[in-house]
Symmetry: C2
Subunit: 168 residues, 2 copies
């Protein structure tokens, strides 16, 4: 058996990449079969679903059930590129910069949801707070750690006073 | 001038991808020229730096300075694949699943830092709480929105009682 170690490339080999490619580690199974009715944020959803991690990555789920929540990173595979750099977000009437918005229509359509872990059965993570389209490719999972991830701020730009509606 | 709209692919065209490729939208300029001494999390850093967004994406920064913090998503370009699915994290003595850890050595080496916005000058975002290696490729920025992103939990698995040391 080959033992895989954590290794770095040489600094001499380091080159700024033109393109960065990833392989999906899993797939989301959710009740959202179309884009209608998907909650605009995971924090506004009480829908349950399953994140299936492909068997070859299952060993990486060890110890995850001892955490309450995960950051789930995924690919908005329905987005057609290129996207506009400014447009009107769902919650606003004015055009905003894409990096000041959580729209899926991003230059790199990367999604980020915070999901509550309900149970992990083999390679299936049963989760709550789902705001992800069915069959979405999953790229990474990270444990949510309040000591790292909770930031207290009330400076939320154009969103001030607009966080009211719950589904798209 | 071509007007770019937000468009979806057809559901009929939808296919689960083998590979997902992104183009860097920017580059991190930080004082961390080697991996030694980089804080293990952005929340544990009081180092300032600059996220340079490439000029072709600069229009997407509109309105961002009205937010306090950003999620910065980037590529750990020094990681050699494949990585082990279980290994001993920096803060622990036992082997843990990669998805239950924030190690850079992940099947898809995606980094996530929460950075404080100090100032935005043209295509340069001056930030605090930097824990990113110099010249790291940036993939996405999202505004940090406490109403969406603050989760109260004390279930932090193997990390319980271990969040003490500050730099790697």
């Amino acid at each position: 058996m080959e033992i895989i170690k954590r290794e770095l490339i040489d600094f001499n080999e380091r080159e700024f990449p033109d393109e960065i490619c990833f392989k999906p580690i899993g797939i989301a199974h959710t009740q959202f079969k179309t884009l209608k009715g998907i909650p605009i944020q995971s924090s506004m959803s009480n829908t349950k679903g399953i994140i299936e991690i492909f068997p070859q990555y299952q060993a990486g789920l060890k110890d995850l059930s001892d955490f309450s929540h995960i950051y789930c990173l995924y690919y908005f595979d329905m987005v057609r590129l290129p996207v506009p750099l400014q447009s009107k977000p769902f919650l606003d009437t004015e055009s905003r910069g894409v990096f000041a918005s959580r729209t899926p229509f991003r230059p790199n359509p990367l999604g980020l949801s915070i999901l509550k872990i309900l149970d992990i059965k083999e390679n299936e993570i049963h989760v709550d707070n789902v705001d992800i389209l069915n069959n979405t490719p999953i790229l990474d999972l990270k444990p949510y750690i309040p000591q790292f991830d909770v930031i207290k701020t009330d400076k939320i730009g154009w969103l001030k006073g607009k966080i009211l509606r719950k589904v798209s």
